[in-house]
Amino acid sequence: MIGIYLSGALAIVVALFFIRNKTIEYSLTGLFLILQSVFTIHAFLNIGVTELVYFTYDSLGLLLLVTLSIIAIPAAMHSRIYIENHHENAQTRAIYLSALVMLITAISAGYLSNHIAVTWIFTEITTLSASALIYHHRNKLALEGTWKYVFICAISITFIFIGILFLSLALQHAGSYDLSYSNLLAKSNELNPVWLRMAFLFIFTGFTAKLGLVPMFTAGIDAKDTAPAPAGALLASVLMNLGFVGIFRFYIVIANTPLLHWAQLVVGSAAFLSLFVATVYMMKVKNIKRMFAYSGIEHMGIVMLGVAAGGIGYYAAVLHVVLHAFVKASLFFQFNQLYRVFQSKSIYHVGNYFKYNATGAMVLLLGFISSTAMPPSGLFVSEFLIFKSLFDAGQIILLIAVLLLLTMIIWSFGKNIFKVLFIPAVGFDDSNVEKISPWESFSQFLLLAFAVYLGLNPPAIFVQLLKESVSLLPVY
């Protein structure tokens, strides 16, 4: 089935690029969404099956694939609204839609691959398609954002490749040449620790460009800022999850070797630094879209802290990744409506949003509550579990520092959001503000509600998948 999916998606990408008829393009995108859903259902019914040698429908991949397929539908809908509002010409529309489809396909395949080199290849393809999306507006700012993204991603992809080379050296000591995750795990005790350390450092650093963690987070911020908001939603949620998959699958291998404590130290310090950096920027940032992006850095920092802490933290980390994707995607979709009202990204030119678009303002308010993990947000559950895991691991001082940083983030996030919602902007001329249909916000409410539902009352199958995806990690 994955063969059909990949070739079908490729055919749709090519068709979208060359057929420049609006109706046909929209129906092709719809067709792709159907293909994506059918593929997801197929994956769901065949848990544990390996197809085309390199793709396995395992529980971690499946969880994130379902997340992606759910977010892909509103992303396509909002893209359509975006294209219609901007009166895009045939060429930019064709490039946008085909890059969007290619991005979703590459991310799906990257989630499911069971071989580190295949994950790497699909990560490369996401860079290509994401850069086409970032360059959408074809102005100076877009060019600058694209250039930075492409350059940093190219370097990070090279780093991952160097890591893979070191990993192959480590593997040769075990007398094996198969770089699939299952083989790495089976041979984990025979891997050469020196090369394994080098491999982990390089692969971790490389994937941080996608995950949005110190040291390579900067590229992602510029990308999410300059890409159109519906595409930015994908970059800020499901593409970050691809970085998480890349690191987490390799972390599972290294966690089963004596290097576990060293790896915890590396991941933990990168995570804490990310939280710190996110706090500093959140206090300062005046661009609303970049504020959402920095909030993503903060969340990924929390996720990786959970991974480093271990125990219940593993479970909570995967849960947090899934829930964060829904919330952040919803906020980015909403941003586009905000921009249509105020025609500005700057906090100084935006204000009193409730007066102009009450439904959208509700999304922003609920999204703020969700992403700062206040109850009843689902993220509250996962963050609470991550804090518990830090407590269990005996990292009280770290926990206190993290809580202090989070308080500062909530304060600055809240300050900006309430300014947007309630305080009128100085000198804003509201005579010809665009009326936005409340129905456009419907999907955003659904995503937010879904995050609450999955966090507070998770269905049994969801819990089972979460447990399975962390079952290979050592318990202590």
Partner: protein, 210 residues
């Protein structure tokens, strides 16, 4: 023989560290491509014809003809001044490059591994760090791209070190090389030349938080 080639490769790095003109950089990149081809030819003993053709295409045609020609074309078309404009004096560059090479030799001496030829490791790692250094200390965007090409060459050497056991990895390296170069060079350097007339990193600072 292979050691001579690899040591020549290291010497090209020193030459690049003190070179003043962008055309010199381009010529050194072309030379590195040729050197890499001979290294591959000697190093990979059990190589099939298809693979050899691929590697030939990559090193000779791509690395030492196509990319340098394209870079030279870009220089001309965008009227980029011929100076490299480093932030640091050449003497300091030379000292730092020496430092990089010495440190990688010291690192590689601590590693005892029968599966790895040490000289490959030294060359690869010092090329990698030199490339990063080049990116960090040159002002023009086109020199950043050249720094990236140097990094790619280092990675290629490293992939050759494990290439006899895992030829797949060499091919993957080639894939990366072509993919990233085409993406960076073909699409964006072209566009950046059109939009920003004098291509300088100082102009790429408009994306701000406020």
């Amino acid at each position: 023989m292979i050691h001579v080639l690899l040591i020549t490769f290291i010497i090209t790095l020193f030459y690049m560290a003190i070179a003043n003109r962008l055309m010199t950089y381009i010529k050194v990149l072309a030379l590195q491509g040729v050197l890499l081809f001979f290294v591959v030819f000697i190093q990979l003993n059990e190589i099939n014809t298809l693979n050899l053709v691929l590697i030939l295409l990559e090193t000779i045609v791509f690395k030492s003809v196509a990319v340098p020609m394209f870079l030279a074309y870009l220089l001309k078309r965008n009227n980029i001044t011929r100076e490299a404009e480093p932030f640091l004096p050449n003497f300091v560059s030379l000292v730092i490059t020496t430092f990089i090479v010495v440190v990688t030799i010291l690192i590689s001496n601590t590693i005892k591994d029968v599966h790895l030829d040490k000289i490959f490791f030294v060359v690869a790692l010092s090329t990698l760090f030199f490339g990063l250094y080049l990116i960090a200390t040159r002002r023009k965007i086109i020199t950043h791209v050249m720094g990236y090409m140097v990094i790619e060459n280092g990675v290629f050497v490293l992939s050759l070190a494990v290439g006899n056991e895992m030829p797949m990895l060499v091919n993957l390296g080639i894939l990366l090389d072509i993919f990233a170069s085409v993406l960076i060079l073909g699409i964006f350097l072209n566009k950046i030349g059109d939009v920003f007339k004098d291509v300088d990193v100082d102009q790429l600072s408009n994306l701000k938080d406020y």
